[in-house]
Symmetry: C2
Subunit: 248 residues, 2 copies
């Protein structure tokens, strides 16, 4: 499994992904699931991937090959004119790669399936964030739904729903994502450190801060330990339950 989140903030976009892949519980590996492409002062694009590793790696390799072969009739993601065109292109590639491996056609739980989060900004367009489905279609984040999760999404969702705010700083967003990832890692063996982070600043049109949280990262340890303590303390401060007949 996998856990990846893309957050849309007033200041820009924040992406975080884990790096664990597994095929059964006795075959685990570390693979990067965050990919970036950029042309300085013109565009910056980030892709997060969850699902079948052969599928996602094939999609990323095909995206790379098109960039290296400008004679290709198909435009690459460094030539597409808008983030919508990039999402269309990635969605089509994803669907084609899955179809080329699956004999059984599209279905929600097919072995070769993958889901992706795509975000970035091109030229004078606004920063945009998409979730791309195995069928190749996609939805876009909005004011009402300002973040996307893929992979093992449930454990880490409550804190995102409760503490996310579009005006939060990049530092607070990273802290929030680390809490969400920590809850997921504590509950699910198939999600694990190291974590990749990319912070894209709105209108910068350059690669933002890229950062890897290693397994021995002291700040992550602080968050992980501190969050347990903070949760228990928050819990103890909630009003006490009394049985309805307590005054009898």
């Amino acid at each position: 499994m996998t856990y990846c989140v893309g957050l849309m903030l007033n200041n820009g976009l924040v992406f975080m992904s884990d790096t664990r892949t597994n095929s059964g519980v006795d075959n685990i590996s570390t693979f990067r699931k965050m990919f970036t492409w950029h042309t300085p002062n013109e565009r910056c694009i980030t892709l997060l991937t969850a699902g079948n590793l052969a599928t996602t790696q094939a999609v990323v390799s095909l995206l790379d090959e098109r960039i290296k072969d400008p004679g290709d009739r198909n435009p690459g993601i460094l030539e597409a004119k808008s983030m919508f065109q990039v999402a269309t292109l990635v969605g089509k590639l994803l669907r084609d790669v899955i179809a080329s491996n699956a004999q059984t056609g599209q279905s929600a739980d097919a072995t070769f399936n993958a889901t992706m989060i795509l975000g970035g900004q091109i030229g004078e367009g606004a920063p945009r964030l998409f979730m791309i489905y195995p069928e190749g279609n996609f939805i876009e984040a909005s004011f009402d739904t300002p973040f996307f999760q893929i992979g093992e999404t449930k454990y880490g969702r409550p804190i995102l729903v409760r503490a996310y705010a579009p005006e939060m700083s990049f530092e607070d967003a990273i802290k929030l994502l680390l809490v969400s990832f920590d809850s997921t890692i504590k509950a699910n063996l198939s999600v694990s450190l190291p974590l990749d982070v990319h912070v894209y600043e709105k209108d910068s049109l350059v690669l933002g801060r890229v950062y890897r949280v290693q397994p021995d990262d002291p700040y992550f340890d602080q968050i992980s330990t501190g969050w347990g303590v903070a949760l228990r303390s928050a819990f103890s401060e909630l009003p006490a339950f009394r049985f309805p007949d307590a005054e009898c």
Copy 2:
């Protein structure tokens, strides 16, 4: 879907279940998923059910019928000599009901499947807590794994893992479960109030406090609102993230 939890405490057992059932998103109903049987000063048994409603209702009806017909060759759960025998009996009934509906045999995601949490105490035995699988076999809670969840378990798990302690009071356990249920209800439409609660006091051998948390319950509202505030405050008190190159 459903969300049910059975907790084992030093003082006894606490059970909580929601009441929403759905067949698609436009066919939702309220059904009780908590069932109790007791013979005062001799035994008290609680069953929580998740999965196919026809299956779980059939199991409960069969359990009731055997109790009303003492001539039945099969012992009922009010005659079984130990909680282990009760679990064996319920597991066998569950497997038989599923098998009688399913043409395709047992599989983890079969339509007619159901999972159950069973807990209680008989005579001089200790209180015991079991999780019963659709295949009819079961596992028992222990010091290491002192609670079971069934249904939509993931959203509400992090707080249980973080804040549960076997020595907590019944009141604190109910507060903890309400927080866990609130996180689940906030994230998943298929889990909803009212909630049923049963608190079984160790060695009492009588039905404990049975309580229903209604949709307008003022304490649940306090917990739900208060937990959002408490989470955000706990989050803001965690140490701030700084980019590794912040001093550059």
